[in-house]
């Protein structure tokens, strides 16, 4: 049921944005940002349940909780960066959108450095046997 509701809201705000663009182009950007925020907010609640289930499953298999934390953080950064870069593209600022995506890559890399180091350690230990 929520899919239908979300799609309805998205289509409604899209139609309103087209009308608004005809009369007042400068008011379209805040409107599109607001519509995007409302849609994202309505989906966020479901994510907390998903993440707690995933964490419980990983704990059962004995995988370190830190990796799950990094994965969640990376998803969050990607979530926000994609939201911002699409809005920049929608406003016609393609250069800005590219910069936002580049910032996102750097942030994701900075978050995932510990995991990369762990992998290198494991590889080094594994290489010792060969």
């Amino acid at each position: 049921m929520t899919v239908v509701k979300l799609l309805g809201v998205a289509l409604l705000s899209c139609a309103a944005a087209v009308i608004l663009r005809a009369y007042k182009p400068e008011l379209v950007i805040p409107f599109v940002i607001a519509a995007g925020c409302v849609l994202l907010l309505s989906v966020l609640e479901a994510l907390t349940g998903i993440f707690s289930d995933l964490r419980a499953a990983l704990a059962r298999y004995g995988i370190d909780a830190r990796y799950m934390g990094v994965a969640i953080r990376v998803i969050g950064i990607a979530y926000l960066i994609q939201f911002a870069s699409n809005i920049c593209k929608d406003a016609g600022e393609n250069a800005l959108s590219g910069k936002v995506e580049m910032v996102g890559r750097v942030l994701i890399l900075s978050v995932s450095i510990p995991v990369i180091l762990d992998i290198l350690d494991i590889l080094a230990r594994f290489a010792a046997y060969i």
């Binding site: 509701k5 809201v9 409604l12 705000s13 309103a16 009308i19 608004l20 009369y23 007042k24 400068e26 008011l27 379209v28 805040p30 409107f31 940002i33 607001a34 519509a35 925020c37 409302v38 994202l40 907010l41 309505s42 966020l44 994510l47 907390t48 993440f51 934390g69 969640i72 953080r73 998803i75 969050g76 950064i77 979530y79 926000l80």
Partner: protein, 65 residues
């Protein structure tokens, strides 16, 4: 899932458009400019609150401290 915010902003946009057309017809272009600015400011105030709420939610859900 409060879509009232979207409808509120759409209403502001259309209202500002209508008022600007009216003011332009009567030849008062400076007032039309002021009305457009006022509409933009009000819309941005609403949107800023919304973005703040979204970012705080995302920060809690994804633990992006």
């Amino acid at each position: 899932m409060d879509i009232t915010i979207i409808l509120k902003i759409a209403g502001i946009g259309i209202l500002v458009a209508v008022i600007c057309q009216l003011l332009k017809q009567t030849g008062r272009d400076d007032m039309a400019m002021l009305v457009t600015l006022a509409g933009l400011v009000v819309t941005l105030m609403i949107v800023i609150d919304l973005i703040g709420g979204l970012l705080n939610n995302v920060r809690q859900v994804f633990e992006l401290y």
